[in-house]
Symmetry: C3
Subunit: 377 residues, 3 copies
């Protein structure tokens, strides 16, 4: 496919290969299915701010907003860099399902790995497969399993284990948002059964939602480790409710030292991508991911991808979009990753450090082979 | 004006625009007015070192020193890259007032926002306006207000509030150097009146200078928040008296969560510019600034400006020089910013991520429009 | 010499100069002397992982592995980018001594400064001089001196001082791996004689190996300070046994404030090279080094060297390879440094920020003049 906006990559074997390679998007969420106004759309272009944008501001005036106008407009038949009003007006002619049917296939993704732990009125695993024409698989969010276990009346630990086992049977991995629930700094060893039971009782009495109890969070992590399937951890960049400095993945060192062979996937990573790359070199079971960051960095995505290609071994790096809400984001992640990795690797090849064949092989590893290996998709 | 050293920017609409745009320098100090020797000059080229430079070293052998020889020499009629001895010999033919009359206008700044909290024998607000032919406005340093309040005999809190209100009436913003007085790590909530009174009594008994009392520092910040005018915070890079790791702006998260609508401007930011950019995305009232860093990074200023253009929304980024002492620095900040932003944005445009019109609009936002909006100048 | 792989640097005075300049490698270890299998070789390409590499992985699939194939192959008569099997098969035709006799001279190093604190079956100071045809000098590891003192029967402090004095008489510097033995965070003042005696007794009773006692580590640092010869500190990037976040050199601020005139060399620095550069500006006696990092970053070494050239004054930056084990690494450090510094400085010159003569002078400072000054070699 030579699709809209692909022209920057033509003219070289490496560029053509990057343009064509079919991705595994190893971490994302559903796209919208229901109509919304411009305010919903612009707020979805800002990850960190949990308040409505200020009156003087616009979600379009950011790297993500500029990238969206540059790369998503053409998918809808607009010229590149169309102005925000023009983009919004044209986008409004489509409903969200139609938009998904355009943007999802344009991403050239064969497998979507869907974190189903947040959102309503968004596409689920089955709908994503239908809208995109590709396979979709579930990633189970551990804090959601905890809430489900809290709603049962029996022993919390047994309920957690049963629910997790049941959901994992049809899933490909787990995910934790410990980063949002106190961060990585502090004890992450496995709590005792007595500690778990006491903590679960307290939490149930408080309502059993929005898990922040450290004992139960630690319990969930260690249950997931036992499954052996990849465990994704939110790292770095998130909304302002998280204490970003407590999401430095180096605080995970003690946990990683006891994590055995279960693949641990460090998601997003910004601004800790170099620390994450170090961990991927230090531990056989640690992986790094570029999702969310690539979208929010837009024209600077290549700089970020370059930093990701410092210490992390090439069999330990994964692609994702972390798309959520506007279907543009599921496409844009792929588009920016293709453009960015091309700029970075072309420079390596032009500088004589890598051969062209090296570069093409690493593209395949990051685009899909590493994910196919650990998720077995 | 096609002034000295402008040639690198000619030949494109973007370059021409960047070359011509008139700046608001939203954070700087006075330039020297009195004569000094070469040692004073070379020490002024090093920000961090509070001791005299070692005998084996030279302030010229740094990015700032090289940038000064490259870009300031031509303003005085010297060739680019003139050697240090030649630069110093030629500079010595002018007095500091004559130097200011050359370098300040060459910066093409319409408004100087002057932190008057440090320095003697340097130009004040009125002199800066006179020397440059542009407008100049005061930024009130909170720790100086505290010292003034300590010197009164009445109630400290009332005195602080009165002095601050009086000075703020003719000023455009406030500034805190909390970074130098213990750092951001720790409680930054508002202290009680009783705590303030007790702390003020202790501090007055100790002499009431060099405020380091945490309670009084916190009191000052919250008083300034109430004014609603922009509050500047020194962040990152400073001299060796500051514990640089305690100036990571992420330690401000709890303070920012309670800071309301008052614009908070994170100054300098290096090496935490990416963390600062995250905060500018997360909070409607947080801004980032490039001053001081751009001068000290010289040839690497473009790399820094690129990192600043990652998460920070474009309506939240501000220009400053942080010039202090040699009038060269007030000019050099502008020159390096123009060169650096041009390299960064040209790459965005050449890569197809931004349109040329996008780039020109963002130049205007950072150069002056954002500052004009929040400082109302 | 226009050696293998030098072509990228030809065609300009700066490139020619960088290609020819003779280096002082101010921190490295011995190369192998005894035969080993492919597993030993591949594990030596990963710094951080203390376990055998996973079955799915290969030490060749990393920046270091790619750089080795690109730049070391030609020294052995192989084409650039030869595949891993081909590289290994060809390398196996040589014994380690023959490899050292090829790779060490190809680095164009006049002086090797050898940290003799680790490894057996590797070349010592005398053998390195013989194999390379250059001078070699010892750097004394303080934790090794501590173990030697612990094995004596007399007063620990007196024994430490005597052994250190004796070894330092023929050495050019000292080295500490405090980063691996608890990190920089915490008290680094000099302990009292009573504290030292008590701690030494405890440690001797425990066997007196693998020093982790904070009091004795602090004692060693302050003894070394008194010598006045340069003290090297491992900073940043190391194996997974170190808590990387506790090796942030900013935690050294209090120690540096009391370190006087003794040169303190911050080794490796990644990912804290910008923080290290700040310290080099803030303290007359602080230096930064690029060793280990340059090898492991491969095609990204230029990006790292660029970040090193931000705040650090040019008379405070040093070259090293940190080569250890495969003789390729002693050569590769030099090769990647030459390529990387060329890319960075050429950009400074092309951008008009530095003159070509500036660049050549800074090359000499980093390549050898700074090291010659502080180590007096």
């Amino acid at each position: 496919m030579t699709g809209p906006g692909q022209s920057h990559l033509s003219g070289s074997a490496l560029g053509e290969h990057i343009s064509e390679v079919v991705l595994i998007d190893q971490h994302m969420h559903g796209c919208w299915l229901t109509p919304g106004d411009r305010r919903r759309f612009e707020n979805a272009l800002n990850e960190a701010n949990t308040e409505p944008l200020a009156a003087f501001d616009s979600g379009f005036d950011s790297q993500l907003g500029f990238a969206l106008r540059a790369h998503c407009g053409p998918v809808l038949g607009l010229p590149e860099h169309v102005d925000p009003d023009g983009y919004w007006a044209h986008r409004s002619r489509f409903d969200e399902v139609e938009l998904a049917r355009r943007f999802l296939p344009a991403a050239r993704v064969s497998n979507w790995l869907v974190d189903t732990g947040i959102g309503s009125d968004i596409a689920g695993v089955v709908e994503l497969a239908d809208l995109s024409g590709s396979a979709a698989h579930e990633v189970v969010r551990l804090e959601q399993v905890a809430e489900q276990a809290a709603q049962t009346s029996g022993d919390y630990a047994a309920a957690f284990e049963e629910i997790l086992g049941h959901r994992a049977a049809t899933a490909v991995g787990t995910k934790s948002i410990l980063a949002y629930r106190g961060g990585f700094d502090g004890d992450l060893t496995e709590p005792s059964p007595g500690q778990v039971a006491a903590a679960a009782q307290r939490w149930r009495e408080e309502g059993g939602v929005g898990l922040r109890d450290r004992i139960l969070l630690r319990f969930g992590l260690h249950q997931a480790l036992r499954l052996g399937m990849p465990m994704q951890l939110h790292v770095g960049l998130g909304d302002r409710d998280c204490d970003l400095h407590k999401t430095n993945p180096l605080y995970l060192l003690d946990f990683l030292r006891q994590s055995g062979d279960t693949p641990i996937v460090l998601l997003h990573c910004y601004p800790y991508e170099r620390e994450a790359g170090y961990l991927a070199q230090a531990f056989n079971n640690v992986y790094v991911d570029c999702g969310l960051s690539v979208n929010h960095l837009g024209a600077r995505a290549a700089a970020f991808l370059g930093r990701m290609l410092e210490l992390a071994p090439f069999r330990k790096i994964l692609y994702s979009s972390d798309g959520y809400g506007p279907a543009e984001l599921h496409f844009l992640g792929a588009r920016l990753w293709r453009n960015g990795i091309h700029r970075v690797l072309r420079e390596f090849v032009d500088g004589g450090d890598w051969s062209g064949a090296d570069a093409i092989r690493v593209v395949d590893l990051i685009a899909r082979d590493n994910a196919a290996r650990i998720y077995r998709v």
